[in-house]
Amino acid sequence: MTLRSVFARFGLIIIIVMFFSFFSYVSPVFLTFDNQVNIIEASAIVLILALGMTLVVAMGGIDLSIGIAFDFGAAFAVVALKDFGAAWYVACLIGVMGGALVGLLNAILIVGLKISPFMATLGTFFVGSSVERVFTNGGGPISYRRMPQEYRDLAVGDVFGIPTEVIIAAAVCLVYFVVLERSIFGKRIHAIGLQKDAANVAGIPVRRYMFVAFILASATCAIGGLIGSANIRMFTPLAGFSYLLDAIAAVFIGAAIHPKGRPNVIGTLVGVLFLGMIGNGLNLMGLDFNLKAALSGIILVSALALAVAQQRFR
């Protein structure tokens, strides 16, 4: 095995291990059990959004509107609870449907009007953010202090000591793993993402699958929105945007560590945990908030560049 092939296969993994060792070395707290749980808990929402993104990217698209789906999930659920007194599970269902609405718009634009996924979801992003601003009269949060405990528990509860949000994220992750990596639906999605024309000739109804996948991805992101709103007991407009780049980065990092360079669920999980570890480690180093923003941005670019370079070396 040459140095080159080692890099091509394990480059990013080595970097991840190096960061892990580095943080363990500089911070005595980093390796503690509680802190590791912190990392996982902090990564739960990002993971859910990154999984939605994984589905879209595996199909050869991109979704810049996952933040909007996140927000819509939160808004629909909070409004259902607050103004309509809905039961917590009904609110969850309504929230997910609110997110699916965003996906429906994307699907119509991309599959129906044949706009490229980038432009279409960018447009959805702008329209969606504006709708949120209008709905909240300029971006003020809608808070609901007295939300049902069951709903609140989505974020702060625990089952046998494991935080609920981690359980939800793990469940979504498992479902995605089964759907994308083990089911025939996933096989077809991957075929579309690899070679759309070949998938079409092989008799896969490409347009129908793309339609469903965009809706599914947005609905998934809305689950993240439910947890987010439960955590702070309010809907904050445009809160979802901050997850976008982490989600994209996690997917591409995940693709880089896949033997064939494909977006995949396990890889995305690793990518999300890597980003979570960086954020956590930089925090523990006691860095200034601004410096932390700069460093994590630089690490992000470098990790992505490395991920791409790694695939080129194959």
Partner: protein, 321 residues
Amino acid sequence: MTQPMSQRLLGVFPIIVFACLFAYLGVQSTTFLSLDTLELITKQAVPTVIVSLGLATVVIAGGDDVVAGGIDLSIPATAIICAAIIADQLTNQGASLPFAMILAFGAAAIIGAINAFLVVGLRMTPLLATLSMSVAIVGITKVITSSRRIGVTDETIVFIRDGTIFGIAASVVMTTVLVLVFYHALHRTRWGMNMQATGGSRDAAEISGILTRRFVVQSFLIAAFAGWIASVFVLARGSGSSPGTEENMLLEMVLATFLGAAFSPRRVVTLWGAVLGAVVVSALSVGFISIGVNVFWTGCIKGALILLVVASASVTTKGRS
């Protein structure tokens, strides 16, 4: 080969929509169709026009396929970081304007070079490369400014904000000159034609002996340069550097550049189109305010406009091939 009537109509559909919008604004607001409003519109459009020049250059050299072609989302962030550097140097470090400008230029050059390396060297998708670069740049800007506003009182900057040249706002005159320089370089020189050919069809350009990779690299450097120039006007408009202004500029830049394609007779991204697009976007914002539309709706309208333009373009090209 003539196209069917319905398709030609679809092609000009965005233009009709805009014409109707402006006619409506003119009728609704007594002040909208006046010289003062025109000056306000052009002054407001200045930074967007300049960053759009940069984006148009990248799209012209890279092709207008948004994912596989050329795009640079880091230009607004470049403008913001250059503004932060200049403001920091002038106000906090007591440096002279030329020195501050040179320092900012260095930063922009590095950004352009990294973008070019990521896209041409590593063959990263421009979208992913420049989007992540944008995040990193915004992060570094936070370190420079500590996420605070830095006011600037430098005479030159104040002149650019308030001064006039031959009775016309200084910023507008300067931008006009810049637009003409860009136009000449890209549309009226051999170099510019070769850059257009590179974006038009990479294969055709290479078979004609054009070194396409070089032109793509240059386009990213020019984009960073546009960001650097824009920073001065960003400083002037805000009387200093303020955090968090890049997002709105990003939206307006993308909208203006791709909107411009709908105005160009060839339905492709051009410099004139980008400039016109930026002015139209600014005019819409000013117009909506003048008739008292809820300001929060403007984002929705802009988003819908992007979709309208792109959808009509995709429908017409589909019909053509």
